[in-house]
Symmetry: C3
């Protein structure tokens, strides 16, 4: 990551929506410092201040980008307060954003963490309400143009980790909850395949008091409008409804209980 | 299209919305295989599973891109089922996506169709629920980087064509319907200018039991808040309301009858 | 700006939303004329026909882009009427769009204004309802590829300026109004810091009949769910609610009265 040729692109993830010029201002700041670098939007549709949803979306996307990518993420309800701004140098990427857990799911293999305290790499004037533009985009633009990570800030020991509920696992059951509802209405849980009792083929999934059924391979394995439990693209157990919205059909949402247990052999 | 210099950019069209990291993951997959290629969003706002709306949007945009562009389109309610994944080599562009009609309006001048069955050009692991990332984006990234279309799959004879209602045409009337409502509330019909009786200046347009009036050149030819029938930017007859939403003013929508007939010369 | 190397990128701002192929068509037209130029979305979420919101968003973002950037902006309820299409050469950027005030807030340091009347730099066929594609994107693509501004049109003397209400200022008070509500629900006023009586520390802000309080530095200076008056990132006084939507909490919106006055020293 010290080789300049390894800064192939910059990504942006924010909760700024897209009806104002705020995202555009960030792109301008990056392009001013490194005009040729491709800037890829991950999403600007995170619900305002929803750090957890932002962390999930960033983790969903970041690992697919080429090594050396600079990811800028801004879901920052504490902007202008004492929370730190960070640059995280991870195994295959740089992450720039606030120290509130937003970066922690995506930043795998952390090597160094820097607090962004060097005015030379930030905007001439720092708006206390828009660090996305004046701090994070500015640092990302400099990084893209070849600045070394160590020049942009002072090393720190750790960052805030996202707090997710921890699943409970017993011999025959695992108990978790819905931690994210995606734009298709799919219910993403905090249960990973390795959290489940084995063998998976013998298990059934319940959401609240609703029996969803066995864990299938794909939506196509159930009838239209029927719910399906499956392991989603990011490795978490999720509940979907074929050609429908699980959130509405199952009447579940963030925090709903999810239980995975051995199927009663008599039914 | 066999010249590598003819792969100038990649476009993306999906129904993934933009509140998750799914679109970002696709961009990462493409950028990992071809970091320098510009990736242009066409839209990610297609209603979930609405293959017809996706096909219209793709057809609206694709022909304007430079020759050799790789268009990736994913509106794919059948993901993970037996529906095929396709690469279509057309007159001026490549199209990558599911074989469900989504590509058929846009792919003019089809030369070859390939079923995407070569693991070497796809992701290391294929999620049964996310071919957009693991199949379509991966193939597009390889194509952008210079892979020949014939290397990515096995030739097949045909693809699924989008089923659109066929307009009825008589000597003095043409009868069609609304097949798309755009984001301005404009009612797009399945009637092309060549479907209309001539001379056009003598015609009037009715939607349901509402007389819209003659076919005008532009919105400015009618008063504010009045409906106007005109030939839209993609060549289809459409009904708009100046500075308003035709969908609401005319109380019409998908499937509404549209009749074009000679004006009664006595009125 | 006559040096070709000074055309580093193109930006797009429209009210087209993102559920159709219209924005994609514009990108295609630009890429066809200049395949390698980065195209950055500022926003496509301006409310349909809201020229003022578009002008604010463009002004929020444009100045951050590198010198020579070509900004294309299309919020154009008068498309197809006699309103002119313009190319504005300003101090550090080019602006392309309709002559309805949309460009006037952002175009600082205007050097030349050209009416777009040269078919050679426009589309082969000009749809009367889609100048965004056939006129503005086409001209922008040519500019990006090196066309001189003076070749694209005929010089004109002036352009339509956006009409904003003018704040009233007395010795001890300033009176303005809300002129924009951003996507966070923040109320942006037409009062700039230089419009306010001094010293700022002695002032209080009222919106309608609601006392907001003193002018603070950042959201973090007030309690959660409390309103805060502060000078926003673009230099205008704005009213926000910490971790909430000021629009809903204060029950104010476009046109609401905003008064800034000296605090009563006895309270």
């Amino acid at each position: 990551l010290t080789d300049l040729a390894h800064r192939p692109c910059v990504t942006l993830l924010t909760d700024f929506a897209t009806s104002d010029g705020y995202v555009g201002a960030m792109k301008g700041v990056i392009a001013s410092r490194c005009p040729s670098v491709p800037i890829h939007d991950i999403t600007h549709g995170i619900a305002p201040g929803d750090v957890r949803a932002g962390a999930f979306a960033l983790a969903t996307a970041a690992s697919y980008f080429p090594s050396g990518t600079v990811h800028v993420a801004v879901v920052d309800p504490g902007v202008g307060t004492a929370r730190r701004g960070l640059l995280v140098e991870a195994a295959g990427a740089f992450f720039v954003g606030p120290d509130n857990g937003l970066l922690s799911l995506a930043a795998a293999g952390v090597r160094s963490i820097y607090e962004l305290d060097r005015p030379a790499y930030q905007g001439d004037r720092i708006s206390p309400t828009f660090h996305g533009r004046d701090v994070f985009a500015a640092v990302a633009g400099h990084l893209a143009a070849g600045t070394r990570a160590a020049d942009a800030g002072t090393p720190v020991e750790s960052m805030v980790e996202l707090e997710l509920p921890v699943p409970e696992r017993c011999a025959l059951t695992a108990r978790g909850e819905v931690v994210h509802v995606d734009s298709f209405g799919n219910l993403i849980t905090n249960l990973r395949i390795e959290d489940l009792p084995v063998p998976v083929a013998t298990l059934v999934v319940e959401v609240g008091d609703r029996l969803v059924g066995t864990i299938v391979e794909t939506y196509g394995d159930v009838a239209v409008a029927e719910p399906a439990a499956l392991v989603g693209s990011a490795g978490y157990l999720e509940i979907a409804v074929r050609d429908g919205r699980a959130e509405a059909v199952i009447k579940a949402g963030l925090g709903s209980d999810v239980v995975v247990r051995a199927r009663d052999p008599h039914t």
